[in-house]
Amino acid sequence: MKKIKRFFKLLLRSSTGTTGMVIVLGICLCAIFANQLAPHNPNEMDLMNMTKPPFWMNGGDLNNVLGTDNLGHDILSRMLYGARISLIVGILATLASGIVGMVLGLVSGYFGGLPDGIIMRVADAFFAIPGILLALVTLMVFKSSGILTLVLVIAAISWVPYARLIRSEVLRLKEKEYVKAAKTVGASSWFIIFNHILPNVWPSFIVISTMSVAGSILTETALSFLGVGIQAPLVSWGGMLSDGRVLLATHWWVATFPGIMITIAILGITFLGNWLRDVLDPHNKGL
């Protein structure tokens, strides 16, 4: 209880941190309570009311507060449901790449030698390929489009910074007194990793995870723009952007509102991440 109180006190001191937390919580609430909050079914088509403008413009009304898209779907409802998919993809992809990166970074940093060499060379090879191209090729080649595939693909292109960061943290921690002491006493490598290294690596991990969620959301957006992201009937912000991109010059609201939503979400996550980094891990220069 005390810890939580202290956490909130620290948070409230930083205006950007608070803003970030508020935004992130807001989006999570939208995602969780989309059913209750959304005025319409997000997949309900209304051919009589296609590309209706938002209510404050000529031709709009309060039935569709933010207007409708090219098939008459209500944009506000789709944005609320879209939060779900975008968050799920972002969080799952981050978890997946985080676990992979963490394991590889730990092994690489602690054991060094050949495993380190191999893992780091594989990382170099992966990192040299532009992420979006790798994702695009993989998705087109595998011809599938479900959430799971998308999560795995985004994870596959995001694990390298994790692995590299964790590795450099482990290298730093390896030199610490208590680790060396544990070694001389005869503790096994995995014991040391779990009890001494891992707890101290968490702060970096949390920070980079937060940023990674933002990155995954943006990647999903780009992939949906290219037509290989989330498919109908699932709604995602990236998908909405893609639907609205042809309409940008004539019916700007279809793409702009989800775009603003994405921007706010990313900003919020970034602010929160920055604050977490300042608090938990001041050594981290950021990647």
């Binding site: 380190d116 191999i118 060379r121 390929i129 090729v137 290298l171 723009f225 290219l226 990313i266 970034t270």
Partner: protein, 305 residues
């Protein structure tokens, strides 16, 4: 240091090898291009014959070795869409990609340094907040939105610049502006935090206590040492600018590598895809090597694992 450099250069070989393996796996899984190469009316015998001629009926390992052998001889295969050697297609497009990437990179670095240093110097003032906000915004904006907005503003509403295509310096302005906005917003926070950290070092405080003017301190001492990780940062942006800029290239009809690879993927023209991805990856790996060498030369005290 010579030892380190040698080691570093030798490390490239396994990286390139792993790269060819990754790319080959993707091509292999992409499966049978024969169905796309021949019209749908062609019979099964024709398709089987073509498969045999292309060596597609051999086992995985054998195909990989043949592929590797071809690569070493510079043979990336033929594009079935263009009926042209894949490598020559890629080489045709590299100058366009490099032109766009270099211009965008230079502008991003200049902008990044100017704003990053300013934000660090005037830390925690409204200027700092403003720059941070801009950088965060730039990272959060979807790339295609920036591109289309620029077109609407500076090519349609105010007919100042051409909308799309390649040819004159004017055609370069909007696409590189788009990429600069997206890239510099990543560079600014990094330079800023580097500067802050450097400026807190002891030797800076010493310089200040000696009575040297603030600007002298900033530029002569702190800045030079900030440059070092900046080189790494720049090298990290290369894959995105060369190959990952395909959305920008598509919107501006800029005939770069990104668009070539995208079309290749769309047509399952895998020879083009693997030649293109290879090209981008190799350029990136070389750039990383160069930046590491530069890093080493500037600061020999760095100990590398």
């Amino acid at each position: 240091m010579g030892n380190y450099l040698l080691k570093r250069m030798l490390q490239i070989i396994p990286v390139l090898l792993i790269l060819t393996f990754i790319i080959f796996c993707l091509v292999y899984v992409a499966g049978d291009p024969v169905a796309l190469m021949l019209p749908p009316e062609a019979g099964e015998t024709a398709k089987a014959a073509l498969r045999k001629a292309l060596g597609l009926d051999k086992p995985f390992a054998e195909q990989y070795l043949i592929y590797l052998g071809n690569l070493l001889r510079g043979n990336f295969g033929t594009s079935y869409v263009y009926n042209q050697d894949a490598l020559s297609l890629v080489l045709e497009r590299i100058p366009y990609s490099i032109e766009l990437a270099m211009v965008s990179l230079c502008c991003s670095v200049v902008l990044g340094i100017v704003l990053g240093v300013a934000a660090a110097h005037f830390r925690n003032t409204p200027l700092d907040l403003f720059v941070n906000g801009l950088a965060a915004l730039g990272q959060a904006l979807p790339g295609f939105w920036v591109a289309i907005m620029l077109i609407l503003l500076f090519a349609v509403q105010i007919p100042l610049l051409p909308v799309s295509g390649a040819g004159t310096w004017k055609h370069l302005v909007l696409p590189s502006a788009t990429l600069t906005i997206l890239t510099s917003s990543k560079i600014i926070p990094l330079i800023r935090s580097n500067m802050i950290e450097v400026m807190q070092q002891d030797y800076i405080r010493t310089a200040r206590s000696k009575g040297l003017r603030s600007s002298v301190v900033v530029f002569k001492h702190a800045f030079k040492n900030t440059l070092v990780p900046v080189i790494t940062i720049i090298a990290m942006q290369l894959p995105t600018l060369l190959g990952g800029a395909l959305i920008t290239e598509t919107i501006f009809a800029w005939p770069g590598l990104g668009m070539l690879i995208y079309r290749g993927v769309a047509n399952l023209d895998m020879t083009v895809v693997q030649a293109g991805v290879m090209a981008v990856a190799v350029i990136t790996i070389m750039a990383n090597l160069v930046s590491d060498i530069a890093y080493c030369l500037i600061d020999p005290t760095i100990k590398y694992q």
